[in-house]
């Protein structure tokens, strides 16, 4: 399958997304914020819908809409003291409703939308691989700089704050990176499925009860393995790539449950 450029692109893009999703997912899951990924993915769908309506770049519009949603969600969570799961539920269904209205108005219920929902290996061109690489390097550098603070915040936000860590700023940073990763993932994993790629490998890794360092490493391994396997399955069986990837993470999750049963 590597004789096709689109498969090489898909594997490159998929690997970058898997690495970023696992790292960002580790913090998000430990903060009990798993639904964030799901809600932001639906916001990305609003971006795609607007782009289809206005005939602009889905990637760019999705990026803007997703990052803005992330900031509004985090703002409401930090300063309005609304339950964070309730905010996420509002954003999840609200975005979906909005996206469907926009799509209906534009009359673009077509195969192109289907590929944004569930991912497609045929959709990745070299430009997107470059954009993903750039965003990937920046995100990784930010995680390398701030993982110690983010870890403390995930463990105990209040004590972290009392020790002088800029909690509000770092929470905004985390949701922003997460939003960027999600917006960039929608072509290959799909808006309805990227949330699963962030959460399931981490939850599977947690079953092994290891240190934080090893847990992140395991999550990375699971996400990468599932993505590469999923893309291959997608190629041979002509399935939407996002669905194949998430099905693979589910298999990993079930194995992790069985191996670690107690």
């Amino acid at each position: 399958m590597f004789e096709y450029q689109f498969m090489i692109n898909a594997f490159l893009a998929g690997s970058i997304i898997a690495i970023l999703a696992a790292i960002s997912g580790s913090f998000v899951v430990l903060k009990r914020y798993s639904l964030l990924a799901e809600s932001l993915a639906h916001s990305a769908l609003v971006g795609v819908a607007i782009a289809l309506l206005t005939d602009s770049s889905p990637l760019v519009v999705a990026l803007i809409v997703t990052v803005l949603s992330a900031w509004v969600i985090e703002y409401l969570r930090s300063f309005y003291h609304i339950y964070s799961d309730a905010i996420l539920a509002i954003f999840l269904s609200g975005s979906l409703a909005l996206a469907i209205i926009i799509v209906s108005l534009s009359g673009s219920f077509n195969s192109s939308l289907f590929s944004y929902l569930f991912g497609s290996i045929l959709s990745i061109d070299m430009t997107q691989v470059w954009i993903l690489s750039g965003a990937g390097v920046i995100s990784l550098a930010l995680f390398a700089l701030f993982y110690r603070e983010l870890y403390f915040i995930a463990f105990d936000e209040e004590v972290a704050k009392s020790s002088g860590i800029k909690v509000v700023w770092l929470n905004f940073l985390l949701v922003t990176i997460t939003a960027v990763i999600i917006a960039l993932s929608i072509r290959i994993v799909g808006t309805l499925l990227i949330g699963a790629l962030m959460v399931i490998p981490v939850v599977s890794a947690l079953r092994f009860k290891q240190s934080f360092f090893k847990t992140v490493l395991l999550a990375l391994l699971f996400a990468l393995g599932s993505t590469l396997a999923g893309l291959s399955i997608s190629y041979y069986l002509s399935l939407p790539s996002g669905a194949a990837i998430v099905a693979c993470t589910l298999i990993v999750f079930i194995i992790s449950l069985v191996v670690n049963r107690r």
Binding site: A144, R148, F152, F155, A160, S162, S163, I165, L206
Partner: protein, 253 residues
């Protein structure tokens, strides 16, 4: 008597929440090297007061000075170690080894760009050794006993090399023998390391005889610097209707 600088100084601190006055004109001073206890009933404003000292809450009115600096201009929060109420904060499934938890104490002050540097790692080792959890460093915190976890959380605070330690209900979820050893340890930190200590409790029976200052709080604050007069301090507090709990525990001292 040598004049020691005040590490914590509040003046007329008042906190009003939903028209309820939680704290009313609280003025307290804690000098360097003191070993203080803050007691009061649940809902009496203990947690509110320490959250203000840690800059986690803003007072409705009044001022706070930390290490002689107004709290709004104070930046050295690593000098104040905070040991939270562990029952409320510890998630047993959280992936963290003892060492990883103690290292968190260096997160705000590490000079290492991408990882903890030698200074950090040395401070972490020292803190683990002092709190006798060095040999547990690779164990997961979820596997530890209550007493061990408590020592890990203190080690985390010590890793930042603080000058003062604030402990919120440190005895929650810890068995009696561990508690006795724990108070010896606090005293040791106070005497040997010169750490200023403020510990918060609702249980007057746990207060050691050697504290240098006792605060009682129930909306209003009373303080008493003569440890021998501790019991009469408690009596004073009953004037404010502090709690029958204090009275009931009198005879234990």
């Amino acid at each position: 008597m040598r004049l020691k600088p005040a590490l914590f100084k509040t003046t007329d601190l008042t906190y009003v929440l939903n028209k309820h006055t939680i704290l009313d004109s609280v003025s307290m001073t804690i000098l360097q090297g003191e070993y203080c206890a803050l007691i009061g009933p649940n809902g009496g404003g203990k947690t509110t007061l320490i959250k203000m000292l840690l800059s986690l809450l803003k007072p409705t009115s009044g001022t706070i000075e930390l290490f002689g600096v107004d709290i709004d201009r104070f930046t050295n929060f690593h000098l104040i170690g905070f040991v939270p109420q562990q029952a409320a904060t510890l998630d047993r499934a959280f992936p963290a080894t003892v060492k990883e938890v103690v290292q968190m104490g260096r997160a705000a002050i590490s000079k290492g760009l991408f990882a903890f540097d030698d200074t950090d790692l040395r401070a972490v080792d020292d803190a683990m050794q002092r709190m006798m959890v060095f040999d547990l460093q690779d164990r997961l915190i979820g596997e530890l006993s209550g007493g061990q976890r408590q020592r890990v959380l203190i080690a985390r605070a010590l890793a930042a090399e603080p000058k003062a330690l604030i402990l919120d209900e440190p005895n929650t979820g810890v068995d009696q023998p561990s508690q006795a050893a724990f108070y010896d340890l606090l005293r040791e930190l106070n005497v040997q390391m010169g750490l200023t200590i403020l510990f918060v409790t609702h249980d007057v029976s746990v207060i050691a005889d050697d504290i240098t200052k006792l605060f009682t709080i129930n909306r209003y604050l009373t303080s008493c610097s003569d440890p021998k007069a501790k019991i009469s301090c408690s009596d004073i507090s009953t004037l404010y209707g502090t709690s029958t709990h204090l009275l009931n525990n009198h005879h234990r001292h």
